[in-house]
């Protein structure tokens, strides 16, 4: 397998700043981040000035820039974790990598520091294989291949549009689960990347992801916002909703979604029990959305990510709108997002 070459100019690293002091986070990642361009988006609700260390090439966006670009009349809220989507919107690069600010580089079982950015880009630049499961996982990794019985016509794979990484230490468990097992930490380093098969749904965690902006950019929609959404991952479902949408789009456009490496080390923050009250709303909503995502079909005429999102928004409005008004808002946000994407893109 040929070596994957990572071109610095192809990558933007988007950082959603929910806390003002980014210095410890950015310094931890310096050796990995510093060769790339950074887009830092400040949570509009954050009052303090951002503290950003030296040695990075970064553009910082605050509320005033956000308002200038998107205007004030929009159903899209860029507050909290959703501020990162603004970074996705204004990026001009092919690949976007996004890691939560409570994560630092992890080490593999041999003690080597994991270059999460490089692994994400490798995932995105090598084909995905969604139509048939390879039991040795990613066949394009060194030392692996397609196994006996894997149809030859499916071995060239498809473009990978989304790369979902994982977390050591504090895994992305929901609040009830973490509250039940307060001392559980993820110490298992699973040395695999695999393609999530077509038609299989998955919970995409926004904590450690990367995507091909040219292929699916508009499909990462900041649409489903909980009424009580907070500043801890336990208090959001925006990434879960977004991930379900992206998977439908990818399945429809024959693009791949990979999951597995890279790992990041996620630090402690907040209290699961405190978050229980807020997250319950999200947990309930998930039950409503599963049957919808299992059955939603996009028309043949939808041939781009934009088309797909518009069609999905219609379906969401029609089928989920009556279940909860939150979904009506989500549908509006999705349609609005595509318009925004097109206008920013052509500017």
């Amino acid at each position: 397998m040929s070596q994957v070459i990572i071109n610095d100019n192809e990558v933007d690293i988007v950082i959603g700043a929910l806390h003002s002091n980014l210095t410890p986070f950015m310094n931890e990642w310096k050796s990995i981040f510093s060769r790339f361009h950074l887009i830092i988006v400040k949570d509009p609700a954050l009052k303090e000035e951002l503290q950003i260390p030296e040695g990075f090439s970064a553009d910082v966006y605050t509320n005033s820039e956000i308002e200038r670009v998107v205007g004030s009349s929009t159903s899209i809220r860029f507050s909290g974790y959703a501020c990162r989507y603004f970074g996705f919107l204004v990026s001009k690069k092919k690949y976007v990598v996004c890691i939560d600010d409570d994560c630092v580089p992890a080490k593999d079982d041999a003690g080597n520091v994991v270059d999460a950015v490089a692994q994400h880009i490798v995932n995105l630049k090598t084909p995905a294989t969604p139509f048939f499961f390879n039991t040795l996982y990613d066949p394009f990794r060194k030392g692996a291949d397609f196994v006996r019985g894997y149809p030859f016509s499916l071995r060239s794979g498809v473009d990978c549009a989304l790369s979902c990484g994982l977390w050591l230490n504090l895994a992305d468990l929901d609040a009830p689960t973490q509250a039940l097992k307060p001392t559980q930490r993820n110490s298992r380093y699973v040395d695999a990347v695999l393609t999530v098969p077509t038609r299989a749904m998955l919970p995409v965690s926004g904590i450690n992801i990367a995507f091909n902006r040219e292929l699916v950019g508009p499909a990462l929609v900041p649409a489903l916002v909980l009424a009580g959404e907070g500043k801890l991952r336990w208090e959001t479902v925006e990434d879960i909703w977004c991930g379900l949408c992206v998977k439908i789009v990818c399945d429809h456009l024959s693009l791949g979604v990979k999951s597995g490496l890279p790992y990041v080390w996620r630090n402690e923050r907040g209290n699961a029990i405190d978050s229980l009250k807020k997250e319950w709303e999200g947990v309930k909503l998930m039950e409503d959305v599963v049957p919808f995502f299992q059955s939603v079909k996009l028309p043949q005429s939808a041939t781009t990510a934009e088309d797909c999102v518009i069609e999905m928004a219609k379906s969401v409005k029609e089928q989920l709108g009556k279940v909860d008004p939150m979904f009506l808002k989500a549908a509006d946000a999705m349609a609005e997002w595509v318009k925004l994407w097109k206008s920013v893109g052509s500017a």
Binding site: G143, R148, D174, T177, Q184, M201
Partner: protein, 362 residues
């Protein structure tokens, strides 16, 4: 609910180990500490006059071709000769709930810490805990110690469904097809991936019979390894064929298939030129076979494994029969297999529980 650290039950009276062999069973010495408590069913392929020595101390029954012919009579035609596919005869005559099958060139592997892997114990863990085919869990098997369902995983799907099949992997010689073996003769699988996962509903996979366990009561009749070897135009597709059939049926009946741990150490690389001759037709045929299985649907009346399998055999005859007359023969053999299975097992149809077929969205 994630599993606790309770010891794994041995299931020594509920599990049979089925081993096809044509050479010898020396490999069993290495497995002794792990296998000695279990009953073995040895299916001797090839020349029935050869005496296969079983190491001392193992409790076993052994069947050679003469035994197979005697027991099945004319129905013995469905059991392959000169191919490890004959192992499925062992599944048929077993009286246990669980089967573990392993090849005679597979040895005990070590994990990255240097500990010997008790493959059987891991398979049992896999089979005794639920599968999650309706939604992919990014932390893999949520029932393993130290894992769980991630945020966003719907609570209504966390009970899972019964696990019918546990597909293990191999360190050292990987299970590559002949073309890949020819291109990469020295590649060895050295990557220990510490995960078990459920293969999602609607997704097919290449099932390897080297290190495989299953719940015979849930899926046994569908584990027919087809017509291979002597007198057949194809070889090395026995487990593949069974894998496509069982996956379609498991998806239909709401049962789960897991893959990943445990690893065994695969020591012998078969001759790639010999393999190429065996696989040759399969490489072309699978291009049509796969879309067939991907599109296969079973009617609502197929409420048992046998009914599913018979219906599948009709579709095989109808849709694949046009590719080659082999598939007509195979479809007939599939029916013969079910007839033989039911006769031997004296059973009413193996019905899955209502719970299994109702769990999760369809």
């Amino acid at each position: 609910m994630a599993s606790s650290s309770k010891p794994t039950p041995l299931l020594k009276d509920e599990l049979d180990i089925v081993i096809p062999t044509i050479r010898n069973l020396d490999f069993l010495e290495m497995w002794r500490p792990f296998f000695e408590q279990y009953h073995l069913i040895i299916v001797q392929d090839g020349d029935p006059s050869k005496v296969i020595k079983v190491p001392q101390g193992f409790d076993y029954e052994l069947y050679n071709r003469n035994d197979i012919n005697r027991i099945l009579g004319p129905k013995a035609s469905c059991i392959s000769f000169k191919d490890s596919a004959c192992r499925c005869f062992g599944y048929m005559v077993s009286k246990k709930k669980y089967i573990y099958t392993i090849d005679d060139d597979c040895f005990v592997a070590k994990d990255p810490t240097g500990h010997e892997i008790n493959a059987l114990e891991q398979h049992i863990k896999n089979l005794l805990s639920p599968s999650t085919p309706f939604f992919f869990n990014t932390l893999y098997d949520p029932y393993r110690d130290g894992a769980d369902f991630v945020r966003g995983y719907p609570f209504s799907l966390r009970e899972g469904v019964p696990t019918a099949v546990s597909h293990g992997l191999w360190l050292n010689i990987p299970d590559y097809d002949a073309p890949t073996q020819l291109v990469k003769p020295h590649e060895r699988n050295t990557r220990f991936v510490d995960a078990v996962m459920t293969i999602p509903k609607g997704t097919l996979f290449p099932m390897c019979g080297m290190n495989l366990a299953f719940d015979r009561e849930l899926i046994g009749p569908a584990m027919y390894f087809g017509l291979m070897g002597d007198g057949q135009p194809i070889g090395r597709y026995d487990d593949m064929w069974a894998g496509w059939c069982i996956k379609v049926i498991c998806d239909h009946l709401g049962l789960g298939v897991k893959t990943g741990l445990p690893y065994i150490w695969h020591s012998k690389a078969s001759n790639p030129f010999v393999n190429l001759k065996k696989e040759y037709k399969g490489i072309f045929w699978q291009e049509e076979i796969i879309p067939f299985f991907q599109a296969a649907t079973l009617s609502k009346d197929c409420t048992s494994v046998q009914k599913c399998y018979i219906e599948l055999s009709k579709q095989v005859k109808e849709k694949l029969g046009t590719i080659d007359p082999y598939f007509v023969k195979l479809a007939d053999a599939m029916v013969t297999w079910i007839e033989a299975w039911d006769e031997i097992n004296n059973s009413a149809e193996v019905k899955t529980s209502d719970k299994a077929s109702e769990a999760g969205p369809k």
